[in-house]
């Protein structure tokens, strides 16, 4: 069996992931030219590298199409149902830090907690003729946080695929759920994070698809140990 590891195909994430594998004694080389989407590990003929977009990596892990992947925990938890049953987070890699947060307009002086938001959401329809709208690309995480953890049911998700921070000012939604690393984009758009509004502290992770074939496979254990020891 060939072991397939999916890595981010571009940007800082790609470089940081490659650096960790290098330190782990699993140096990655591209097959063909630098921009190729296939790679291999020097000295390990039975390991294949697939360079994919970060959100595809989560999906491929869930489908069991790859054995390992490096991707953000946010994408894993958003992209997969019951993520912990389908995949194992083997190691948190210390880069790609981003928090998934609930942010509301700064001027909502009366809203500091999820409970406040619950009050506002409960009254929203009566006051404005529609439900409170949340712009996000994280609908699964939003639901878990709002419905399961805080018992807030009455809101609507407006799917937003980019520039989510601009949605409240543009009138597309009332509040947002989005990722932030420093919070500066939120501040620039006059949004504030609720005091209990951090849904997930995410970073890049080495993730393993839970496959029966992995049990007792020493190469799997070796990759896990090597990466953990390189951190």
């Amino acid at each position: 069996m060939t072991i397939t590891i999916a890595l981010p195909s571009k940007g800082r994430m790609k470089d940081d992931a490659s650096a960790i594998f290098e330190r782990a004694g699993l140096p990655i080389v591209a097959v063909g030219n630098d921009r190729s989407y296939r790679g291999r590990v020097e000295g390990h003929e039975d390991i294949e590298i697939a360079f994919l977009s970060a959100s595809e990596i989560a999906r491929e892990l869930g489908a069991g199409a790859v054995d390992f992947g490096v991707t953000g925990e946010d994408l894993v938890r958003e992209g997969l149902v019951d993520a912990d049953r389908q995949v194992e987070i083997v190691a948190r890699l210390g880069f790609g830090h981003a928090d998934v947060v609930v942010a509301v307009p700064e001027i909502w002086l009366d809203v500091d907690t999820m409970a406040d938001l619950g009050d506002v959401a409960a009254d929203f329809r009566a006051r404005h003729g529609r439900r409170l709208q949340i712009a996000t690309k994280y609908w699964r995480l939003t639901q878990q946080h709002f419905s399961s953890q805080h018992g807030i049911q009455l809101y609507r998700i407006v799917e937003s695929l980019g520039a989510t921070e601009g949605a409240p000012a543009a009138g597309q939604a009332d509040i947002i759920v989005d990722i932030t690393s420093t919070g500066s984009t939120l501040r620039a758009n006059h949004l504030k994070i609720l005091s209990d509004g951090v849904i997930l502290k995410s970073q890049a992770c080495l993730v393993r698809a839970r496959k029966l074939a992995h049990e007792g496979d020493l190469r799997i254990a070796h990759i896990v140990d090597a990466v953990r020891n390189a951190l």
Binding site: D112, R130, S147, S195
Partner: protein
């Protein structure tokens, strides 16, 4: 086994419905998704089958019948009262159980006599189950949103707190958490000194401050919540934070929520509870008694029904009666129903249309029959 064909007792069921004066209504399997997500909340999103039309309109496979029946009623504008029945497939993503199954039921729209319409819904549902499952011991549970609201109102809590508690009715965990907060209030955090200053002045100054900030940050044009709304809620929030429910009232509320007894004894127990606590439940108790009397008129023995004070559904369109029927010792709800007086106006009806209905889970009934 997926239930591909209609259950063999479908014909019998339709006869039952017709005999009870309900006219069959059919609704498309493919429905606009927005009304379901709007009414039942986003939590439904992962439990329905969503798709999109070529023009980007969000569509779903019919996850239940009440909303489509009501939409159909509004669309055809046939006037009230109307008694509809339906039988057809519904589609939901379920962890256990099949993704497509049959439901059937009755929706009673526009009947102004609330007590008798309620009693009729419960009686019809119970009699139909009894005829499909002859000789089985059934558990019939009844709850009432109106009674809970009356209890909360009579405790003399601030309006904001009343709303929170009423909103949480039916969600036991959330309700417990709210009661805990009421017992031990937390000070409001996150207020800057400037803001605290403004709050000590009059509300107009606060509104003015919010308005100016909105303009300066270019947020005004699309702001959904106005400066006035934000200021009013901030003031209310500060007042609520200082509210502490005294020990006695808290005990009363928990005591009420733990009430569970035969419906035949419930009215007297509620009256006794109100008397002992020095509370007045207003109309709620009279309506409760009227419903019990109406049930008796229809030949239902109220001692067969269990009243559980904490039984409710945490959705804002349910307004009064809720009930469900299971086999004794089982959790599987065979029929569930309730009153939803707010639903039709929420869906766009011009007039207030009182409504009550129930839905039978045909797959569970079929399984119960097979055993």
């Amino acid at each position: 086994m997926p239930l591909i064909n209609m259950p063999e007792f479908s014909g019998r069921l339709l006869d039952e419905f017709a005999g009870r004066g309900a006219a069959r209504i059919d609704t498309p399997v493919i429905q606009p998704a927005a009304p379901f997500l709007d009414m039942a909340g986003e939590d439904l999103r992962r439990r329905i089958f969503l798709t999109e039309s070529e023009r980007g309109e969000s569509l779903c496979l019919r996850p239940e019948f009440t909303i489509p029946v009501c939409l159909r009623h509004i669309e055809t504008a046939t006037g009230t009262p109307r008694r509809y029945c339906y039988l057809g497939e519904v589609f939901r993503q379920r962890r256990d159980g099949d993704n497509e199954f049959y439901q059937a039921g009755i929706e009673d729209l526009g009947e102004k006599n609330v007590a008798s319409a309620d009693a009729r819904a419960v009686t019809d549902a119970v009699e139909i189950i009894a005829s499909l499952l002859p000789g089985r011991a059934l558990t019939i549970t009844l709850g009432d949103q109106t009674v809970f609201e009356a209890v909360v109102r009579s405790l003399g809590l601030a309006l904001g707190w009343q709303k929170r508690l009423i909103q949480a009715f039916g969600n036991t965990a959330l309700l417990k958490q709210l009661l805990l907060t009421l017992a031990t209030p937390q000070p409001v955090a996150g207020l800057s000194p400037e803001l605290a200053d403004l709050l000590r002045q009059d509300e107009a100054a606060l509104i003015d401050h919010i308005d100016r900030t909105m303009q300066d940050t270019g947020y005004s044009t699309n702001a959904s919540r106005s400066p006035r709304e934000i200021a009013a809620r901030l003031t209310e929030k500060l007042a609520l934070a200082e509210t502490r429910l005294d020990g006695a009232a808290l005990l009363l509320l928990s005591e009420f929520l733990s009430l569970e007894l035969p419906l035949s004894e419930a009215a007297a127990a509620l009256a006794g509870f109100a008397d002992a606590a020095g509370l007045s439940f207003g109309h709620a108790l009279g309506e409760f008694e009227a419903r019990v009397a109406a049930l008796q008129d229809l030949g239902m023995d109220p001692s067969r029904i269990t009243y559980r004070a904490a039984f409710g559904r945490p959705l804002d369109y349910y307004t009064g009666l809720v009930f469900e029927v299971t086999q004794k010792g089982s959790d599987a709800v065979l029929v569930g129903g309730g009153r939803f007086d707010r639903l039709l106006t929420l869906l766009g009806a011009v007039d207030d249309i009182p409504a009550v209905g129930f839905s039978l889970w045909l797959d569970r009934i079929e399984q119960a029959r097979a055993r």
